[in-house]
Subunit: 365 residues, 2 copies
């Protein structure tokens, strides 16, 4: 067993606090990481507070993990001790379903779907149609911790030109925005809308711009206007600005909504060109009702998208290295994470907190 | 002016009744039809009762019109006097926008969008951003009438092998279901779901089956099961049958919902395979809220689609002639239309009423 320190919530109202636990020894195709950095994702907050109703406590969040390989199982061939690698939202999948065979592990259709880096399999045993638990555990502990044990197939090598800390947010926020931009064919000359200017939104702006698109940002935060223009947006529209919405009606090729809770997509549907799509990636919950009149009248679509595959995660890291894209991050200590959660909930961060792991500090703090 | 008899509603609670009015003389590219048949579409009821809030009274409905050309303007080249032709939901469009230039008049982006066969332009002058009325009229009178005047570019020749009466429902119900089946790539081997077993739904079953798909019908009407199987469905699922829904989870390639009012698409989203779409064509109004958790977890989409283009209307008539598909119709007299409306609202018709025009009867009735 591997002695590990983490930051944990024991119940929905809990503050994260220090936690000592043991991880299983690596199986022969697994590796052990010493965690160096871990991004703070809004879904960490949803999960800690049980806002999706599926949290398994104790909950150690964290799925934007960069770490150094400290040990490897006997059959590991893809990484070596000393390598710095990334781990995103998944640490395993069924590997036999059609989605897995097609390299889309993030849509794994196995009895428990993929194994999340924290909070256990996406379909827990109790909800699996077969009543199976192929992973043997209903809870997993994430990257707000000193070590992680993960299958070699679910780690991503960090390209040499990417700073380690800046790579962390790409492992969830990056691939979650890259995957739909690519899937819906965003390309040079497109007009792209990005709704929400947080960790995901600001990366969506940078990625879409690097793909050659002209980007319009929609936000409720007027004070983020300059920052959005600085990172490449052509235009920033406040969600209250009716005149701007009217002027943009029917002008946009693709809209990515990164808003992390229930919201109304109807105003955005009006901005799409004919036969185009708005995709929501942040709000994993019931949304405001859609008016099918607006949708049908121009053959429009709404869709959802969930993180991205391992191949896409590798792609987005390479894409960012090639285009010199890094997220705008603020480094914090693990004992600053409760304050960081409050800032994220208020939307008051530009644009991603990344925890720099230092457990001596944590134990003293 | 052309003296015309029609059936009209003067206000939302009105019964349709006889109405004498005059149509404009045909312009040089327009033709005059003597109406032979007109299908009864659920949207005729929505419109007569002002259920979409946009009805212009007096309202003479009818947009599944088959008629014989009685006169032609000087510049008409596409039809001759004596031809039997069809007219669907549109009698004109702007002809200059991108959609029109690409042959998708049903998504016309002109200041008033397309000119509807009844109830005037889709975007009336008062709502047009430019304040224009390019068609010069805010109301039009449909095919529940003795004559129709229409641009030669918006009539469809009826293929010789199609019975005239059976051709009528193809002009709206037919193309409204054909267009999305084609747009979303339904093909041999696909599993297609059709929600609602009325005028649209039963044609969707026949069309999808002729495209080589296996069709599952979802209905609230257990008594329609045999009829649905008769016309080619492989399976009929009652909307209350939870076990059947569970068994079909993740099995369907494309779902077309023809339900003509607000309904809940969430149970159908669960039936889609990864990265597939449910399209609603009947309910032009706010729908039940969608749970984006279900949508994002398998990269699914919901979309809308509005009737079809003139080219697609020609296609569906040819497709039906080639595959020997005809709608299941009941012929009625125009003075039976109020009773027919009640049956359609209850879903008690298998599957389309078609009015056989005989104005001597109507005046005596």
């Amino acid at each position: 067993m591997i002695k590990t320190l983490g930051y944990v919530a024991d119940h929905p109202g809990d503050q994260l606090h220090l936690f000592s636990f043991e991880r299983d020894e690596p199986r022969e195709t697994e590796i052990v990481l010493d965690v160096l950095y871990c991004g703070v994702c809004h879904s960490d907050i949803h999960q800690v507070k049980n806002e999706w109703g599926n949290t398994v406590y104790p909950c150690v969040p964290g799925h934007e993990v960069v770490g150094r390989v400290s040990r490897i199982g006997e059959a590991v061939t893809r990484v070596r001790v000393g390598d710095v690698v990334g781990v995103g939202c998944m640490i395993d999948s069924c590997r036999t379903c059609e989605a897995c065979e097609q390299g889309e592990e993030n849509y794994c259709q196995g009895p428990n779907s993929w194994l999340a880096t924290y909070n256990g399999p996406m379909i827990p045993k109790a909800k699996a149609r077969t009543g199976e638990n192929m992973y043997g555990r209903d809870n997993t502990y994430g990257g707000y911790s000193s070590t992680l044990v993960v299958s070699q197939d679910f780690v991503i090598k960090i390209p040499p030109r990417l700073p380690y800390a800046a790579a962390a947010p790409l492992l969830c926020a990056g691939v979650t925005t890259y995957s739909p931009l690519k899937h819906w064919g965003v390309t040079a000359g497109h007009v792209v809308g990005v709704v929400g200017m947080g960790g995901l939104g600001h990366l969506a702006v940078k990625l879409a711009k690097a793909m050659g698109a002209e980007v319009t940002v929609f936000t409720t935060h007027a004070e983020k206007t300059d920052a959005a223009l600085d990172i490449g947006a052509t235009r920033v529209v406040l969600e209250s600005d009716q005149a701007a919405f009217e002027a943009l009606a029917g002008q946009i090729d693709f809209i990515l909504s990164t808003v992390p809770q229930k919201h109304d997509l109807n105003p955005y549907i009006l901005l799409l060109k004919r036969d185009k799509t708005v995709v929501a990636v942040g709000a994993l919950e019931p949304m405001a009702p859609l008016n099918n009149m607006q949708i049908a009248f121009n053959c429009k679509s709404t869709a959802g998208s969930l993180i991205g595959s391992i191949a896409e995660t590798e792609e987005v890291l390479t894409f960012c290295a090639d285009h010199e894209i890094t997220p705008n991050i603020h480094l914090i200590d693990i004992n600053g994470v409760n304050a960081a959660f409050k800032d994220v909930e208020r939307g008051d961060v530009r644009f991603r907190y990344v925890i720099k792991m230092d457990w001596m500090d944590a134990m003293g703090g």
